[in-house]
């Protein structure tokens, strides 16, 4: 043999069929290119497997002189392939969300944030790659909260609690539930359209939207289940209601979709769910509306947080938000808006009886709900920097379908 090895490793009885390469690899890692490692061992196949393994990894093997005693099998001369593989490698930004890249490059693609990326690989196109457009500092905390508060539809709702409602009240519940299911469907589809476009560098936002979609999935389940708890038929779905939801799903701009869905739509929905929680005629309806309301509040918080952040940086954002409200209003101006059956059902639930005074009281409460929704929208618009009078005007243009 030529020069003396600088390192040695004894594999004992361990063969390459059971992981001996790990010990060899570990010993080679500490050597420079051309560094020499004496490998000893007693596995009978070692003399065949060691050179075969080295060959595939670009290491050279030198054989000991005949007559050298002991378990020495060969000397491995470290090749350059292991180093070459990592030539030009880069970190995919900082691992922690406190030091995010403002515009992560496409080549980071699906690499884990902060990972050491081998050069090459596909340039994945995630077009929502501007931190200011998608990020909110609250996202990691909101995600943690959302993940901690996931509930099990089977155990979180008293499905078996006994109750019996008059047929017309039950029909009103079924109608409202039908309406809620179609709204929740839209609320699931909207983030789903964006989640695959957001650069994974902003993974907490992706995670948060994923949980948001899981929330909506549960809402769809529990509202459907309540609708069919006592019967086999769902309520009605109006063409205008579906048209209103379709304009939400069709919005392809992330900021505008968040604005229409979370700030205006889900914001109003929180008020609606609170109303239903108060006026629910049975324990199941009361519980599912309360559970869904908690989730929807989180969705509104995130939508507000990232739009507030963006509005501070981009003074033109408000123009776009304003235009989006007008555009949606124009698209819906010839539609009926809220399904009349839904409105009537809400009055029935709030009335709690069929005496004219009950109905009158129910009607007042639904009007108060609409007023509360309007006030809430105005407050959120003001937080996004709109003047109070303009906020009032814009809120009035919001779809009559609530969402």
């Amino acid at each position: 043999m030529s020069a003396a090895p600088v390192a040695e490793v004894d594999l004992g009885e361990l063969g390459f069929g059971r992981g001996a390469h790990l010990l060899v690899q570990r010993a080679l890692a500490g050597l420079p290119r051309g560094g020499r490692l004496a490998v000893s061992g007693r596995d009978p196949a070692l003399r065949v497997h060691l050179p075969a393994w080295c060959r595939g990894r670009g290491h050279r093997v030198e054989w000991p002189d005949r007559g050298e005693a002991g378990d020495l099998v060969a000397v491995v001369v470290r090749g350059s392939a292991d180093d070459d593989r990592w030539f030009g490698a880069e970190r995919a930004g900082a691992a922690l969300p406190s030091a995010l890249s403002s515009r992560p490059p496409a080549r980071w693609g699906l690499g884990a944030r902060g990972a050491l990326l081998e050069a090459g690989g596909p340039e994945a196109r995630f077009d929502l790659d501007d931190r200011d457009l998608v990020w909110a500092d609250i996202a990691p905390n909101l995600y943690a909260q959302a993940a901690a508060r996931q509930w099990d539809p089977q155990t979180a709702v008293p499905w078996d609690d006994p109750f019996a409602l008059p047929a017309d009240v039950e029909a009103a519940v079924v109608q409202v539930m039908t309406y809620l299911v179609e709204n929740e469907q839209a609320a699931l589809v909207v983030p789903a359209r964006f989640v695959g476009r957001i650069h994974p560098h902003f993974r907490e936002v992706v995670q948060l939207l994923a949980v948001q979609m899981a929330d909506e999935a549960r809402h769809m389940e529990v509202f459907s289940r309540r609708a069919l708890l006592r019967g086999a038929e769902m309520g009605t779905s109006s063409a205008g209601g579906r048209q209103s939801l379709f304009t939400l799903v069709a919005e392809s701009d992330f900021a505008l979709a968040s604005f229409l869905l979370s700030v205006l739509g889900e914001g109003s929905f929180v008020d609606l769910l609170s109303f239903l929680h108060e006026n629910a005629p049975d324990p199941v309806t009361r519980r599912i509306c309360w559970l869904a309301m908690q989730d929807e509040r989180r969705h509104v918080v995130f939508g507000m947080a990232h739009l507030e952040h963006q509005a501070q940086l981009d003074p033109l954002l408000r123009d776009r938000l304003r235009a989006a409200i007008h555009r949606r209003h124009d698209a819906l101006v010839d539609t009926a808006g809220l399904n009349a059956d839904v409105f009537d059902a809400l009055v029935v639930l709030a009335a709690g009886g069929w005496h004219p005074d009950d109905v009158s009281g129910g009607f007042d409460r639904v009007q108060a709900l609409q007023h509360a929704m309007d006030q809430g929208r105005q407050r959120r618009l003001v937080r996004l920097g709109f003047r109070a009078d303009e906020a009032a005007e814009l809120s009035a243009l919001h779809t009559r379908n609530f969402m």
Partner: protein, 281 residues
């Protein structure tokens, strides 16, 4: 001035051959070589086309190299090995028995059933059988003809031979050293379930065969291949697919054992004709 050209032949033993050579073609064209390739369904036609001048280079198995050398000589010309992979040098084949086999040494295999790969596999058939014959051991050969014409590039025959060994259908099986390791690691062979009773001398495998004298294009081709770096992210995935970390200068010193086996078995005649009786690629 027109760019120098090279038309290379490669055998399509696996769909990845297209990925590899399309990738290399892009890389080579980007460096001033007008390179293209044609795919063959087996090595024999590729060798004939190389010697006849229809292609400029052939990515050849060791067996195809031997035939090219003989055919060229018969035509009064010559070929040479331009480059080879680092992983083509210093391979060995092994003869393996089950761990509980009464066979302790090579001589113990006399009269027993030995599984080999396809008829035209250098590493799993011709070289190990030549090794047995040289040791004076006569065995009953059970052949696993998968991918005949691909000169053993298809791993199927070797794997089937290994499976037959585990199943107790044969007394021993022949395979290349790296496949013995691969079969143990993938579970085709149980980790401590086999014992190596013989290992051949070291030999070489594939090479990029070209006609002599080389054209400018072929010379540039050789220079460019040798310049490919594993540090280059454009070619590294292709090098991984092709199973090398670097191209080396071609050498022809590692084909003697195979040449002896070819002569002993009558696979090719000295002038490069296919003479193996049951060989239909």
């Amino acid at each position: 001035m027109l760019a120098p050209t090279v038309l290379m032949g490669a055998v399509a033993y696996d769909p990845k051959v297209v990925t590899i050579w399309e990738g290399f073609r892009t890389w080579l064209r980007g460096r001033g070589l007008d390179f293209d390739f044609v795919l063959y369904s087996h090595y024999e036609r590729q060798v004939e086309d190389l010697v006849a001048g229809r292609i400029d280079a052939a990515w050849n198995s060791p067996l195809a190299w031997l035939r090219a050398e003989r055919l060229a000589a018969a035509h009064g010309t010559s070929v040479r090995a331009l480059t080879m992979r680092d992983t083509d040098q210093d391979l060995t084949s092994v003869v393996v028995v089950r761990a509980d086999s009464p066979v302790g040494q090579l001589a113990g295999l006399a009269g027993r059933v030995v599984a080999v790969g396809a008829l035209d596999s250098p590493q799993a058939t011709l070289i190990p059988l030549g090794h047995l014959a040289a040791a004076g051991v006569t065995v009953d050969v059970r052949r696993f003809d998968v991918g005949v014409g691909l000169h053993g590039d298809h791993i199927g025959g070797e794997r089937d031979a290994a499976r037959a060994l585990v199943a107790g259908e044969v007394d021993a099986a022949c395979m290349i050293d790296a496949n013995h390791l691969a079969f143990v690691q993938e579970g085709t062979l149980p980790p401590e379930g086999t014992r190596i009773v013989a290992q051949t001398a070291r030999y070489d495998h594939c090479n990029m065969t070209v006609r002599a004298p080389e054209s400018d294009g072929v010379r540039l081709f050789g220079t460019l291949l040798l310049g490919m770096s594993y540090a280059d992210p454009q070619v590294r995935p292709l090098l991984d697919l092709e199973g090398l970390t670097a191209w080396r200068e071609g050498r022809t010193t590692g084909y003697d054992a195979l040449a002896d086996a070819v002569d002993a078995s009558g696979f090719y005649s000295p002038d490069g004709r296919v003479t193996a009786t049951d060989y239909r690629p």
